[in-house]
Symmetry: C2
């Protein structure tokens, strides 16, 4: 939700921006005039936070009390369910005012969360122009540049001079999401150049825009994936990025504050996927039990069924541990260490691919690197284990050797699988994050048991 | 590394900003004049990327060929080892020019990566003023607001009017990291207010700064943790944040582009910790085998030793599976599902705490939520298993019951442990990320075996 580009809030060094207790007390004591005076000094994000503490009726009461110029900003910061409640409690005229004042991307975000009947009512109140814009935005695919952009920006003409540009900005700038970068377009809205306020400030008033504008423009198309948009912001340290349609006409801009939100969402999504959950874009505390369960059961079931394969391998070697029950006691250590070693590699590679540090062309380099790391790690773990086993089971040197060798090969196998599968997924155009710790562990479990019992059967001639 | 706030680069819709092959061909054919003309049109991030493809001698050659005003910007984008190589190949005068031109935070970042002897040489070449500033910056603790801020910003006086402010910015703005927010200070450099370029643009020239400046300032102190800084940027959608010392004097600003970098680093660190690795701030492909091994061996050893406890539990119930070897074949399924169910909960909670969605005060709510999710998930998994087992082992209904009951309690136990431990870590002021999947799995493994064999011994009277 892009908004405060200005600093506000009652700042102390401890960043205590306001006193929640004091505000709540005003509400309790019905001292609404003092409350209003207080709120109008506050930052919209803080007001939204305060409102969430109130009961539903009071939320509407306080919302209506806000100064008009602040109300929409606060509204954009509220959680979806509170937005819905407020919309259901206010008049059509009030709704219209809010929707017209909201930046299009915030309005669209809100509409996507509302139930259909409420959306209908909201859309009925808006002007045809806004309705058209909102409908256009609703059509952009999820997670595309179009879905995170906003339609508000400053457009200039190249024949303007700096002074004219400034008066245009003074006349039109207040509503615009960001005025720090202005876009120079021809009549068909094709981008011809960009000019920053800094460029304008650093040049004399009579300079023509066309002489100072930058014609090498970094831009993106509406259908581009938002992860690519993040990469562009990261690589070029942008404050905003113009978005064009497939006819190369400017349709909106993505601002850095939206990108910060998207980055956090994408990282959260990866964490969820890598812990075998379906990603959800709702905040945890607001997600229902059934939805959480639904997101988790899919992978749990898949992994449970796969681990039965591991179980059948154990059954297959039943005679081995019937002959030497001690062997079983090393199974958790072997499968656990293998799983952890494999997860380390897969997490590393998945993350490196997500931030663009490793690409499929690095495949051989990565595998070779991981194998060498596995040699070192395997050696150390093997040696530690050998010492421990020789102390705990003196005289059983063949069992010790079996365990240590199995551990060594398990670590190498685990790291090999851990780094290969995510890259393979990427090559197959799948999301590498599905090849994360849980799946890797399950695969490694089965493989490590086979290694263990093969070695045991050979060395101990069972 | 904050730099391009302006758009550059040869943009096409496909965001192909330059043709690497073409550039390399220029180098091959020694057509340096054409190359130089080409490079001077390019974005510094792209030039740095191009230079990384060259051999070391050519890197220096191309670097020296860059237009002066571009050279420092490109330098700031280069990897640490290339920076070192260039510094070792150029004259003291050239070094001085670069260091003086770099933003202080970029210079400090570079110095922290260089070997001591090179740092000495660099520091000798700088002016006393810069040296003092760099030394001050080097003293801020790692990951503090001070360590990511920059010293360059626009400072105004409250008695200036808008016109005077503009001429001050025109005179001083070119070097400054961000000119879009200006800081109003008194003589002791205490912050009195902030004013954005937008405010300046929207007000008449004769307006005094003190009448339009915002006195409710969101700020932070140099020693504040960078994660708190990220939270402030997220909450208030800031473009930059002023940083004050403990006497409340303005010493620098943190800009949004640095925050974007820090966010990505913090997420990567969490991924590493949660996959049982020590975090590293070097890029994967540039980290040595031994360093990678070192980062991984610590937790692998700890977890390996812990999984021996699980092994000894298995040994303890040796007579149970000697009596009924079939029991062992369900062990991977039980421990695996338990580990995955626990990891899901712990990952979810750790991530929610990292982005501030869950706080320790929510402890009871979270545990109650997870337990209910576990009830649902456990029921479904149990039912699926019951069907499968009844089909596969008809007549062994007590064994089936044992497995299904164990699975059910394991899931509940796993989710309980998975959500409790990260919160407990937070309460003990430890990093919740250490209570991630690998450790949770190891603990859950042991607990699930105990549950399993306790139930087996009772139900099957072994």
């Amino acid at each position: 939700m892009p908004r405060t580009l200005i600093f506000m809030g009652k700042g102390g060094i401890e960043v205590e921006n306001y006193n929640m207790e004091e505000l709540l007390q005003y509400v309790e004591e019905h001292r609404f005039r003092s409350l209003r005076a207080h709120l109008s000094e506050m930052n919209e994000a803080d007001i939204a936070e305060f409102m969430e503490e109130l009961d539903n009726n009071r939320k509407v009461l306080i919302f209506r009390m806000l100064p008009k110029e602040l109300a929409t900003d606060v509204f954009a910061c509220l959680e979806a369910d509170i937005q819905e409640h407020i919309i259901n409690s206010i008049s059509d005229a009030e709704i219209q005012k809010i929707v017209e004042d909201l930046f299009v991307d915030d309005a669209v975000d809100m509409l996507e969360e509302l139930p259909a009947t409420v959306v209908k009512r909201v859309m009925r109140t808006t002007t045809p122009e806004t309705r058209k814009l909102i409908n256009q935005f609703l059509q952009y695919p999820d997670n595309s540049a179009g879905s995170i952009m906003t339609a508000e920006y400053i457009g200039l003409k190249k024949y303007m001079n700096v002074e004219q540009a400034f008066s245009y900005i003074r006349a039109h700038g207040v509503d615009k999401e960001t005025i720090y970068t202005c876009f120079v377009m021809d009549r068909e809205r094709h981008l011809e150049g960009v000019v920053t306020i800094k460029d304008l400030l650093m040049n004399p008033y009579e300079t023509r825009i066309q002489d100072i504008m930058d014609t090498n423009i970094i831009k993106t198309v509406t259908t581009e994936d938002q992860e690519e948009v993040i990469d562009l912001f990261n690589k070029y340290d942008l404050l905003c990025l113009p978005v064009v349609d497939h006819e190369d006409r400017l349709v909106g801009i993505v601002t850095v504050d939206d990108v910060v939100d998207v980055m956090e969402e994408e990282a959260t999504e990866d964490f969820e996927k890598m812990a075998a959950m379906l990603p959800s874009d709702k905040p945890y505390l607001k997600t229902s039990i059934l939805e959480l369960a639904k997101n988790r059961i899919v992978w749990l079931t898949v992994l449970m069924l796969s681990s039965m394969i591991t179980g059948s391998i154990l059954t297959h070697y039943e005679q081995a541990f019937a002959a030497l029950p001690l062997l079983v006691s090393f199974v958790p250590m072997l499968t656990g260490t293998g799983g952890n070693a494999g997860s380390q590699s897969s997490t590393m590679i998945i993350r490196c691919m997500a931030i663009g540090e490793v690409e499929p062309k690095d495949t051989l380099r990565v595998i070779w690197k991981e194998i060498r790391v596995a040699f070192v790690v395997g050696l150390i773990l093997g040696a530690l284990n050998f010492i421990r086993l020789m102390l705990m089971y003196p005289g059983q040197s063949m069992v010790c050797l079996t365990v240590v060798l199995s551990l060594y090969f398990t670590v190498i196998m685990a790291k090999g699988i851990g780094c290969t599968l995510p890259i393979a997924a990427k090559l197959l155009n799948l999301d590498p994050a599905i090849m994360a710790a849980p799946l890797i562990s399950t695969i490694v479990d089965a493989c490590s048991l086979i290694i263990y019992f093969k070695i045991a059967c050979n060395l101990l001639s069972i």
